[in-house]
Assembly symmetry: none
Homo-oligomer: 212 residues x 4
DNA sequence: AATGAATGAGCTTTCATTCAT
DNA sequence: TATGAATGAAAGCTCATTCAT
């Protein structure tokens, strides 16, 4: 009874809907079994459809996987853009909102994280994956840089090298995802967020209010 | 010291060497092709040996992969323990040494990083991988905690929550590895180190000398 | 002439036309891709219609292929019967006309030849194909025999064994088709005809006029 | 208990032997089922070996098929060169020997003929097949031309156009193969040979002795 | 009558594993 | 110990056929 499974039960569905359904099935399977053990049959089964369905809609497994990565990348971007838009027009608040968005239920969902790491694991040897992963960082990086620059100017912070700080924040964000994914004790989304906020407190001590 | 024990050591040594050779071949192949596209034949070929050789020494592919992960985990640990040992008996210096060791030529080698991410990518669905990855963090975490606690005490830092800082540092360290592995522009080991050191400067402003 | 019979003919006609259209599409595809690589989708596409159309009109691929072979067989027969009918009432002339008809634009068209050879290639293992191919030869053979017998009688040729000559002529005719189909240098219809005519000159030296 | 099946029963056979064995299995299967219905499993089974064996030795089905065609082409050529070599040094005798060789047990074997027609059927759309088929004709054609030229000179035949005669003979030879393959009543190798010899008698009436 | 999304059997191919040498 | 030919299960993909629309 999940909302996503609320699709036409069997035959005759719009192409876009079927594709989405299959991508979501792929995500489920990758999260459950890993990229290497995910087969076309698994995806079809997870979608409640027949063997040949994936090739019918995506032509090849490679293509399905690329589209799956694309899908979570766009979902990810939409999520943080939304977060900035909804935040008050204050650079510290926007920074907090942007970084907190990474620990949203939607994107820091353990299934999605598993998928990200699955693709990162293959990115070095797969140019297509690599490119999409790079794009995700580039866009995020630009927005983050803008906000931080404004915050530095407004807060009269000295001695902060923006590029390095941006690299550091993004690195920590990714590393916290890994921790959520892998840690033995329940290191959850809230913990991750707290760690990140403490980082910001150290860097921008005059704006701690926004980070607590 | 029976006559047979004269031979045993050599044979055992030979066996160990062959296993190491195959593990290194596995690393090469995983870095080149990813975990999913690495076959037993690739490993054997990279080692300059014949088809059946891997099964002879490791019984199964699964086992080879487990041992490979173990191998880089131990190499990693050896590396940072060494770094601490060689560092002067000063907590800030030791912290710097420990964190700098992550960007050593040996462990932050792009091939090794590729292997780490390959295994992380499958860790969620493979308990054996997950366990080894967790162990790596646990050990590192303990040493890191000790050093930071000492530094906080000595430096009379207040308002620093050690556990969160430790999580943050480790997260950033892993995230910087990802950046080295995936970034388009040449984000290298030195950059990563600089980012990390800047982080420490923010957290421990009184010890900046040790981090520059 | 009930009101319904007013409609029936049209509908029946439409059906026949569609079947013909699909058979011609099949011929095109077989010529282009061979029998083995021709799919129902190819045929439908070549006809500018939709996937399921062939099954609708022919029930199965096997059936379509049988009907396609039948179609070119009938076209072939119609062609040579026509040629005889139009020829002057003279046995040598009729012989020439019959054999020349094999190198007509219509039947010795390279697409049609490709189809013949495609079916011959499978005839040994497909009784239905074999039967249709045999029928083609049987009918042709009978007419050819009659004409030759008359010519031998009229021309007072001795030492000619009709059955063997008929076999020989038919064999050469088929072989010349192969040559048209496969030869590297442009061995065309006219060449084939000339070769056949020279054969007849050798066999019936007193009637060379009819063969030049 | 055929001589060819007299190979190492299972494991460990020389590569060349295995390849030959598989090619012969392919021939059997193509003759039995046609090119289109021959699967890798059929070939492996006919060779008494396991599924993966064909890919192990030929990499792909396409390659196996190409090599199979090559195999019968070389066997064919060897056969007629042998026939010429063994024939007395007399042009008529050599001509007879060359053409009779086409109806040898070895090459006019019904299985081999089925294979030839199977490949001819696909030759139009498969450049590799086409090329090999053309090569077969080219070589044969050259030898045939030489012998006929000598015979014409020695026999003082006039009005014979060698190129057309050569085309005619080759066409008839191929067509007779088709007849052997497809004819309903038992049109066998001897019949085919007789038809061809009668043709030669008509063309070279002064040398009928050599053709009877 | 026509469409085209869906099915699922069957194909080629890959590859971890086995084992005679 | 080491080799590499052989195996056979399992994968991705194709395509004739079905059937809701």
């Amino acid at each position: 009874m999940t909302p996503t499974s609320n699709l036409q039960p069997k035959r005759r569905a719009a192409k876009v809907i079927r594709r989405r359904q299959l991508i979501e099935a792929a995500i489920k399977s990758i999260a459950k079994r890993g990229l290497g053990d995910t087969t076309m049959a698994h995806v079809a089964q997870a979608a409640g459809l027949s063997q040949g369905i994936v090739n019918l809609h995506f032509d090849s497994k490679d293509n399905l996987l690329n589209e799956t990565l694309n899908y979570i990348r766009h979902e990810y971007e939409e999520n943080w853009r939304n977060a900035i838009d909804k935040a008050p027009n204050d650079s510290a608040q926007q920074l907090a909102a942007l970084l907190r968005s990474d620990y949203n239920k939607k994107v820091a969902d353990i299934q999605k994280l598993a998928v990200w790491f699955a693709f990162w694991g293959e990115a070095k040897s797969r140019p297509t994956y690599k490119k999409i992963c790079q794009e995700r960082v580039t866009d995020y990086s630009q927005s983050l840089t803008k906000i931080i620059d404004r915050l530095i100017k407004e807060g009269e912070y000295k001695y902060i090298k923006t590029p390095q700080l941006v690299e550091g924040i993004i690195a920590m964000a990714d590393g916290l995802w890994l921790n959520i994914l892998i840690s033995a004790q329940g290191f959850g989304r809230q913990n991750a967020e707290a760690v990140m906020m403490q980082y910001l407190c150290h860097v921008f001590p005059n704006h701690q209010a926004a980070f607590n």
